[in-house]
């Protein structure tokens, strides 16, 4: 065998992979890891930026104890939980219905058009969703009231009433996130091998049984992902709510992240706000682990 002519690999050294990864790692450090560590450190200090003369003394777990005994924090957390259990079932149900429709054979062009349309709400910034929500639910010229009028119902001051405002932000969240559920479920449905679906169709003519016993197992990983992402997302849902209601009226839409923002950037008590944020992070991790343990099942 002829000997290989060894060309020196001048451009590629031991550190080359490092340089390629460096920009991403640096960015992540800068915008992800540094702020998290900063928040962690801050959460153990008294850190009120309106009183810089007091300094930022280290106070141990005092911020955490304050947060845990703060009834407003708990009620905003409870409200966030209520929001989550309001929107998620609707998003899952609607998402599944859309996915099942798109999974049906036939109407290829329309379906691919629909699939593309699904991405639009996902690609919309939360703040813009909030702006759209403000227009839709405007008492005087919003389409929501127009819609009610068509069916003979009187108009309604959505954003001015506690239950109306809560419903309005829930509807906007459902609008934005149902397509995400639909896409995840659609991916799950297309994971079911064609012959397995056909084998089941030979054994049952019930669409519901087919969904429950054959397709659902393939949807569980996606469902877990949806629940984890949505719970993390609802816990930090801020922009849309802030633009639409600023947490009001009263505290009707004062979700936990809106409350934290108020503590941090209205009262400027960054120490307490950081402690709250870290607690939310821990909560998110616990919830995710729970979902994975209870729900997640690989089919194969």
């Amino acid at each position: 065998m002829a000997e290989k002519t060894a060309t020196p690999n001048r451009g590629y050294g031991r550190w080359t992979p490092f340089w390629f990864l460096a920009p991403a790692v640096l960015t992540l450090l800068l915008i992800g890891i540094y702020p998290t560590i900063f928040a962690l450190v801050t959460s153990f200090r008294r850190y009120n930026i309106t009183r810089p003369r007091d300094g930022f003394p280290f106070i141990g777990f005092e911020n955490y104890l304050n947060v845990l005994s703060d009834s407003t924090f708990w009620s905003s957390l409870l409200l966030t939980a209520r929001f989550y259990v309001t929107v998620l079932p609707v998003q899952i149900a609607l998402g599944l219905a859309i996915a099942l429709l798109l999974h049906k054979p036939g109407m290829g062009l329309l379906k691919s058009l629909a699939r593309v349309t699904l991405v639009v709400p996902l690609a919309t910034t939360y703040a813009v969703v909030g702006l759209i929500g403000r227009l839709i639910f405007n008492r005087d010229f919003g389409v929501a009231n127009q819609f009610l009028n068509w069916f003979g119902f009187p108009g309604f001051d959505w954003l001015g009433s506690p239950s109306g405002a809560f419903a309005a932000i829930a509807i906007m969240d459902i609008w934005q996130w149902t397509p995400f559920c639909a896409l995840i479920f659609l991916a799950g449905l297309s994971m079911v091998p064609g012959e397995i679906e056909e084998a089941a169709r030979l054994e049952t003519s019930s669409r519901l049984s087919l969904l429950r016993y054959v397709q659902l197992p393939y949807l569980l990983p996606g469902l877990t992902a949806v629940m984890i992402l949505r719970s993390a997302d609802v816990l930090k849902l801020f922009d849309m709510v802030f633009v639409m209601t600023r947490g009001g009226p009263g505290s009707a839409t004062d979700l936990v992240s809106v409350y934290i923002q108020r503590v941090g950037f209205r009262i400027f008590d960054l120490g307490t706000a950081s402690a709250q944020a870290i607690l939310l992070l821990i909560l998110t991790i616990i919830i995710s682990r729970l979902y994975i343990r209870v729900l997640y099942r690989e089919v194969n």
Binding site: I196, E198, R201, L202, E203, S205, Y213, P217, R297
Partner: protein, 362 residues
């Protein structure tokens, strides 16, 4: 009334017509095999019987009932797929019980039927396992078991053995044949393997490009192929064809000429010889296993290209006036490439086909 009846069945995908009008009937308890090259529409036809594919035109009857537009589950047929199509998240027992559960059968009956099927297929020790913990052959048994427990009117098999290795394939083929005789069930079986077709079928339906080329028992297809396609498709190795010219004909014999014939001509007695005229071309078909080496009355003069030792027999690839000829002879003849050899055949074993490929009877 036949048990399974297809009446002018057609299927089109858009503008492409894949089944162009198929009619046939099968009796209760019959084993029918659809055979043909890939793309001939045999699987589509089977899937239409199952109801997994809509029928574009024509009528389908099962047990005297028009099921053309019936849902798959209501046709009381079961199907074994090429990929087995077991439910991956269910145990073997659950896989087999699924159809019965969906039919709301009482639990004790479900258990009895599954155990019965498991006993027949010798998969009792596997009942608690998931499909991923099974070998290909075991999966296939489970898939067949899932069919059996439902006591369907018709068993459908879509190339069920093509994912198995050669040895297992032979073994499962024998088991399917046994199963058929034990259950006395009506079975429709799709394959491109003509050995499976020959060994399993009561009747074979040979399909090509969406049309039935011939329908008959394996022996009929082998002995009296309707045309050159069936003649070439049934039998392994493939039948040899020589395109000869008719040089003389009288009432019951004809003379053919081709440079490959020893002496340039071949004299054949055929009662139907009057069907052909002098000057017409006919295909002379000879099965490799019918040709013998160095006979008393040589028919073909050949030059040997290659011989393959099959152990008990030898497959000879040779040329006769440029035309390839394959023959299978017993033992191991002492030959080498380039040797001039002669081959002969019983006149009764010579097949004749006219210019359009149709068999000349007689």
């Amino acid at each position: 009334m036949s048990f399974l009846k297809l009446d002018g069945i057609k299927k089109a995908f858009g503008d492409a017509e894949v089944i162009k009008g198929v009619s046939f009937a099968a009796e209760k308890g019959e084993f029918v095999v659809f055979v043909g090259p890939s793309g001939c529409g045999k699987s589509t036809l089977l899937r239409m019987i199952a109801g997994l594919e809509d029928v574009s035109q024509g009528t389908l009857y099962i047990d005297g009932k028009n099921v053309t537009f019936e849902e798959p589950a209501k046709r009381e047929v079961s199907m074994v797929f090429q990929s087995y199509a077991l439910y991956p998240h269910m145990s073997v027992f659950e896989n087999m019980a699924f159809g019965l559960r969906m039919n709301k059968q009482p639990e004790d009956q479900i258990k009895a039927r599954v155990l019965e099927a498991a006993r027949i297929l010798q998969i009792e020790p596997l009942l608690d396992r998931k499909p991923r913990a099974l070998s290909g052959g075991q999966r296939q048994r489970v898939a067949i078991g899932r069919s059996i427990v439902r006591h369907p009117k018709i068993f459908l098999f879509d190339e069920p053995l093509s994912n198995l290795d050669a040895e297992l394939r032979t073994q499962m083929r024998v088991e399917i044949a046994k199963l058929h005789s034990n259950l006395g069930a009506t079975m429709v079986y799709v394959t491109h393997d003509q050995v499976e077709a020959m060994t399993l079928a009561d009747r074979i339906v040979v399909l090509r490009a969406g049309l039935v080329e011939q329908l008959g028992t394996p022996t009929e297809l082998y002995d009296r192929p309707a045309n050159t396609f069936v003649a070439g498709f049934i039998g392994s190795p493939k039948m040899n064809f020589l395109l000869a010219t008719v040089t003389a004909t009288d009432g019951n014999s004809l003379q053919l000429s081709h440079p490959a014939f020893a002496g340039g001509t071949l004299q054949l007695r055929r009662p139907a010889a009057s069907e052909v005229r002098v000057g017409e071309k006919v295909s002379v078909g000879m099965r490799p296993e019918h040709l013998s080496l160095d006979p008393a009355k040589p028919l073909l003069s050949l030059s040997l290209d290659l011989q393959e030792n099959l152990g008990g027999s030898t497959q000879i690839h040779a040329r006769a006036a440029g035309e390839p000829i394959t023959m299978v002879v017993p033992g191991r003849p002492d030959l080498s490439s380039g040797d001039a050899i002669t081959a002969g055949i019983e006149p009764n074993n010579i097949y004749l086909f006219d210019e359009s490929g149709l068999a000349i009877k007689g």
